[in-house]
């Protein structure tokens, strides 16, 4: 007994307890629901069997049905476009802002903080505001674009199948920029200044310094951000619900929204679970990338 106690306060046990308790908690509250969903994708579920775990087993029928639906491929494609578009946009804008504020002029830290606003606003509110801004007939975005002469007619961001997905991507970039900016700023601050001084003395200009020092040193940070960004983008739901509802005609429908639609608007829980399994597979890749990209980090 004393051995166990001393192990906990001063040995291996300490680590095990610190990790074990939260992981048990997470396994119960996040792991089990995940398994529930995976199990559900192989069963035939209706509203009355939601409460039990034993339901008719139908093997891969849900998967087959899903892939024979005409809209499946285009929705999966939309998801990829959405993820790539959002992450690229958020990353580029976030990086640009992080670099800009890194120059550190007076007032920089104050103003930088303002950009984190999008993070604290509830998704519900952000969705509603962007719905308003992107409205075709009286949205503010169209108004600005016309005033600056960039276009003459109205673009129906929400209702034109060519634009609807990009409308949500735009709103999502706005939403995610702050997260990218702050993490990239952290990464930038970690680069020792003397590396830059040495390079400057060697005659490297700003662009070369960026390419040969900044980017390589930021590699693991960038890898981590992109992996995390992938996961968060795949969770983005409120914007779709508020702005386009997945329409028109599924042109802005993505996997996570579709899974919800199948489960809670068409009450086809089996198919909804199937999509969540597919999403899980995607995320497994992202998680692997993250783990590998942070591998060489050493503490202190």
């Amino acid at each position: 007994m004393k051995r166990v106690f001393s192990s906990i306060t001063d040995g291996r046990g300490f680590d095990l307890v610190l990790v074990g308790v939260p992981f048990t908690f997470l396994l119960a509250l996040s792991g089990l629901p995940l398994l529930y969903n995976i199990l559900m994708s192989f069963q035939e579920v209706d509203m009355f069997s939601l409460g039990s775990v034993i339901r008719p087993f139908v093997g891969f029928k849900n998967y087959v049905d899903l892939f024979t639906e005409p809209e499946t491929i285009s929705i999966l494609r939309n998801t990829i476009v959405f993820v790539v578009g959002s992450i690229t946009g958020q990353f580029l804008v976030g990086f640009a802002l992080a670099l800009f504020f890194w120059i550190n002029f007076p007032g920089a830290s104050w103003l930088r903080g303002l950009f984190l606003v999008s993070w604290v606003m509830p998704g519900l509110v952000v969705g509603a505001i962007w719905n308003w801004i992107l409205s075709g007939d009286f949205g503010v975005l169209n108004f600005f674009l016309q005033q600056t002469g960039l276009m003459s007619g109205n673009i129906f961001w929400r209702s034109d199948p060519n634009f609807s997905l990009w409308a949500v991507i735009l709103a999502n970039i706005w939403l995610g920029t702050s997260f990218n900016m702050i993490l990239l700023a952290t990464g930038l601050a970690a680069i020792p200044a003397d590396l830059y001084e040495a390079a400057e003395m060697d005659g490297a200009n700003a662009w070369q310094r960026f390419w040969t020092i900044t980017l390589p040193m930021m590699r693991s940070t960038i890898g981590a951000i992109i992996a995390l960004g992938l996961i968060f983008t795949l969770q983005q739901f409120d914007l779709f619900a508020a702005i386009t509802d997945g329409g028109p005609n599924n042109s802005s429908n993505v996997a996570q929204y579709w899974a919800w639609d199948l489960s809670f608007r068409q009450y086809d829980f089996g198919k909804g679970a199937t999509i969540s399994v597919i999403m899980t597979v995607f995320v497994m890749f992202a998680a692997t990338v993250y783990v590998r990209s942070t591998r060489h980090e050493v503490r202190g």
Binding site: L26, G187, R299
Partner: protein, 275 residues
């Protein structure tokens, strides 16, 4: 260009960028002050023709926002406390070592976040109802939010711990501290800023959580402000000015705290790297 001029230019540039970026926020405030039909005017008006300040008082009273905001605070606070307690130690261990177990741990931590709340709600609801947890709705929501946000907290705080030099801890151990002692007396204080910052960020997210609250809290006395806002926004909602007024009052306290603390937040996150 002289230093001063350069700084002025950069400042001006950043103000412009901030203005563009904050425009949606501005739009929220402005719409709150507009009257019903002015919102649909084309071209859109940028300043309300007659600011309706009474909207705020009306919404506060009729929607009982005081109680809603209190519930939101209770839930967010509970969630953050639980997350901090559980997550800090976990992040510490995951930063301290690097082996196959830590790899698996990190992988799992990320996998736990795969599904959005809208898909997790059903199994969680079923599970909680069988455990009888739904008799304590706010506690149930706190637990659900903890599970949802903890992985993110762990990832952030782990980065903070990575910046605490191992030598300091080793020195403390050599000095005769136990592991617990070294952790509480040396490592934790050094990581305090990063932990605080991550906690604040998670608090803000939890304050806005609504999917779990919507389904698990049936008693209107216990519902948080996010559910209150959502109930406003049914299919037949045209009271956009009321909604935006509600959103304004809901978001502004967080924003205010945030603006006051943001210098600390930002420096907290970036100073973690100071060697």
């Amino acid at each position: 260009m002289s230093e001063v001029a350069r700084n002025r230019l950069l400042l001006a540039l950043s103000v412009v960028m901030a203005a563009i970026y904050l425009f949606p926020l501005y739009w929220m405030y402005v719409t709150a002050l507009k009257s019903g039909s002015e919102m649909f005017a084309t071209p859109p008006s940028f300043w309300p023709s007659s600011a309706q300040w009474s909207t705020f008082a009306y919404v506060w009273e009729s929607r009982n926002m005081g109680r809603y905001l209190w519930n939101s605070t209770v839930i967010a606070f509970g969630a953050v406390s639980l997350i901090a307690i559980l997550g800090t130690g976990c992040a510490y261990v995951l930063a301290r070592y690097r082996n196959i177990w830590v790899d698996i741990g990190l992988f799992l931590i990320l996998m736990f976040q795969v599904l959005p709340a809208s898909l997790m709600i059903t199994p969680i609801f079923v599970g909680f109802s069988q455990l009888g947890l739904l008799e304590y709705p706010r506690l149930a929501v706190i637990l659900a939010i903890t599970a949802k946000s903890m992985p993110f907290f762990v990832v952030l705080v782990r980065a903070t711990f990575m910046a605490v030099p191992m030598e300091l801890e080793e020195a403390a151990l050599v000095d005769g501290n136990s592991r617990i002692g070294a952790f509480f007396n040396i490592v934790l204080p050094l990581a305090r800023n990063g932990i605080l910052v991550s906690a604040i960020l998670i608090f803000m997210q939890a304050f806005g959580e609504f999917v779990y609250s919507k389904s698990m809290i049936q008693d209107i006395q216990l519902q948080p402000a996010s559910v209150g806002l959502n109930s406003f926004m049914g299919p037949n909602t045209s009271e956009w000015n009321n909604i935006m007024a509600y959103a304004t009052m809901y978001v502004t306290p967080i924003l205010a705290i945030f603006v006051l603390l943001q210098r600390r937040i930002v420096s907290g996150l970036t100073s973690g790297a100071l060697k």
